[in-house]
């Protein structure tokens, strides 16, 4: 009896906590459909009708910034995956002098917090005349995000049987062929994982774009902060802009979950 009472109070408490957790997001959805006048006159009232014109105006306001963000994300993901997997391949399958120290030098980068490098990195980007250019974001992003690729690809490539590579070598495949045609196709799930993690980190970053880029090149996060700062003139507009700009991250996470589950299921069937 007391057990079930405990369960009920626990459940009720959880429901309250969940509601509190979701309040900001319900707020986001609710106000994205209200006009500014409705917000001012009747804060709590339901919108008279669903004002999809907020979304139209918001789409016009943020579409170019979302495009900029997507461009930076896609180029970064591509660069990080190619460069990271290439190094991961070498560390997994090759033997050469100074292999250990070189690997440590790469992995040691993880001890460097971005806080330490942000000021001088700006100086470097400035010297390279890459402020107000997407390359000022992409190149530093690739440097940091390739590490995950090196770590994960090395582990995976090490687990592949040597016979696979031997066979391709006998057929006359060069080293690049072995990397691109033998190793890479076998690690697509890992590459997707790396891509998702990289995409989310880059898309959500606000600080570095804000430091490096100007208004004409702004990313979505910059545009989002800008909407809130310009006198907070229109909540409906900015909230629908936030929702539109969150669609890429939501899609990537949902797509990623499906991918993980598929991977797990196929693994279970094989074993």
């Amino acid at each position: 009896m007391t057990g079930s009472l405990q369960k009920w109070t626990g459940g009720a408490l959880l429901a309250v906590l969940l509601l509190l957790t979701l309040v900001p997001f319900l707020l986001l959805l609710f106000f994205s459909f209200k006009t500014q006048l409705e917000v001012l006159i009747d804060f709590w009232g339901m919108p008279e009708k669903l004002h999809f014109e907020n979304y139209e105006a918001a789409w016009k306001a943020v579409r170019s910034s979302i495009g900029n963000s997507l461009f930076v994300c896609i180029v970064t993901v591509f660069g990080a995956v190619v460069i990271g997997s290439l190094s991961g391949y070498v560390f997994a399958r090759h033997r050469f002098p100074l292999k250990g120290p070189l690997y440590l030098l790469l992995i040691g980068v993880m001890m460097i917090p971005s806080l330490l490098t942000v000021v001088p990195l700006y100086a470097i980007i400035n010297n390279l005349h890459m402020t107000h250019s997407f390359w000022g974001l992409i190149l530093p992003y690739i440097s940091g995000t390739q590490l995950l690729g090196i770590l994960l690809c090395r582990t995976l490539f090490e687990s592949l049987p040597e016979e696979l590579f031997e066979a391709a070598r006998i057929d006359g495949g060069g080293e690049f062929y072995l990397y691109a045609r033998v190793a890479m196709p076998l690690c697509v799930p890992i590459l997707v994982t790396i891509g998702i993690v990289t995409f989310l980190a880059v898309y959500s970053d606000y600080l570095w774009p804000f430091i490096v880029l100007d208004q004409a090149h702004q990313t979505f996060t910059m545009a989002a902060v800008g909407l809130n700062k310009s006198g907070r003139s229109d909540i409906g507009l900015s909230f629908s802009a936030y929702i539109i700009g969150s669609v890429p991250t939501i899609l990537v996470i949902l797509f990623g979950m499906k991918y993980y589950i598929e991977g797990m299921v196929s693994g279970a069937v094989k074993s």
């Binding site: 309040v23 804060f43 090759h94 530093p140 606000y206 936030y242």
Partner: protein, 291 residues
């Protein structure tokens, strides 16, 4: 023979060139610059050696001392937020009957993680808005004085930032605790129950000791993270009013990108890096957690 061997090595090194080119240019070189320029006055064009002046300035400047005190508030509350609340959430879900209900709540709590972090910060900024903010509107509804500019007043600004994200369950610590509790040995828990242990005893005597490794990891990561966290301050208050909500990382940002004092900014970056290093070494030596 030897030539063939070195040709093979050459291919290995060639494949590594892109990685090292990137890391050298955009990670190791900035680190060297940071350490060097922490001893200089630097406006990106010219720099002059000033010795330890930048570091002395931190301890003598009142705004930095305030920032350091604020950092203590942020770090301590961040630890409480990352451990107590997610643990309560995970335990309550664990107590629920029915797997569907558990799944529903777990999914609900991680739902906010779908949005980019900046959007969440902006939503909270809106909640604290003096006129159209949810908080003031709610207080008004309850018949209370509701004219506070929560983020604009000395007394409330820092606590408004601290309380952002209430009830603090959504996030990685919650998932870590939830997974760990699910992995506990059911036989032991069952045996304890048969021996007459009540829920509270099971929680304090079995769950808490079992979760110590998770507590350590979350605590270390939270301390390191909170020292580096100034995006929310930058967006919500810019460190103000005055220096009421600033922290050392925010002062670093303002010094470099607000007033072109890149030398002083580098010095603060170096100082924070050393603190992070000490925390990390302390962790490896005494707490011995892997992450």
């Amino acid at each position: 023979m030897n030539l063939a061997k070195w040709k093979r090595y050459g291919i290995s090194y060639l494949f590594l060139v892109p990685s090292f080119l990137f890391i050298a240019t955009f990670l190791y070189y900035p680190v060297l610059l940071a350490f060097f320029h922490s001893f200089t006055k630097w406006n990106l064009v010219q720099s002059s050696w000033v010795g330890l002046d930048n570091f002395k300035r931190m301890w003598t400047e009142t705004s930095f001392v305030t920032g350091a005190k604020n950092q203590l508030i942020y770090s301590v509350t961040d630890i409480v937020k990352a451990i107590a609340f997610p643990l309560i959430g995970a335990e309550l879900i664990y107590l629920l009957g029915g797997n569907k209900l558990k799944y529903l709540f777990r999914t609900g709590f991680i739902l906010p993680m779908l949005l980019p972090g900046v959007v969440t910060i902006l939503l909270w900024q809106n909640i604290y808005d003096p006129t159209n903010g949810l908080l003031n509107q709610l207080l008004h509804r309850l018949g209370m004085n509701a004219t506070h500019a929560w983020l604009g007043e000395d007394g409330t600004a820092i606590w408004s930032i601290v309380l952002m994200g209430l009830p603090f369950i959504s996030g990685l610590p919650f998932l870590i605790f939830y997974a760990a509790i699910g992995n506990m040995s059911q036989e032991q828990l069952e045996a304890a129950r048969i021996d007459g242990a009540n829920g509270w005893n099971v929680f304090t005597k079995m769950h808490l000791p079992f979760l110590i490794p998770q507590f350590k990891i979350v605590m270390i990561l939270t301390i390191i993270g909170s020292l580096q966290d100034y995006v929310k301050i930058l967006i919500m208050t810019g460190g103000g009013p005055g220096v009421a909500t600033t922290n050392p990382a925010m002062i670093m940002y303002n010094a470099a990108f607000g007033s072109s004092q890149y030398g002083y900014g580098s010095a603060i970056g170096v100082a924070l890096f050393l603190v992070i290093l000490i925390v990390t070494v302390f962790n490896m030596k005494f707490l011995k957690t892997d992450y």
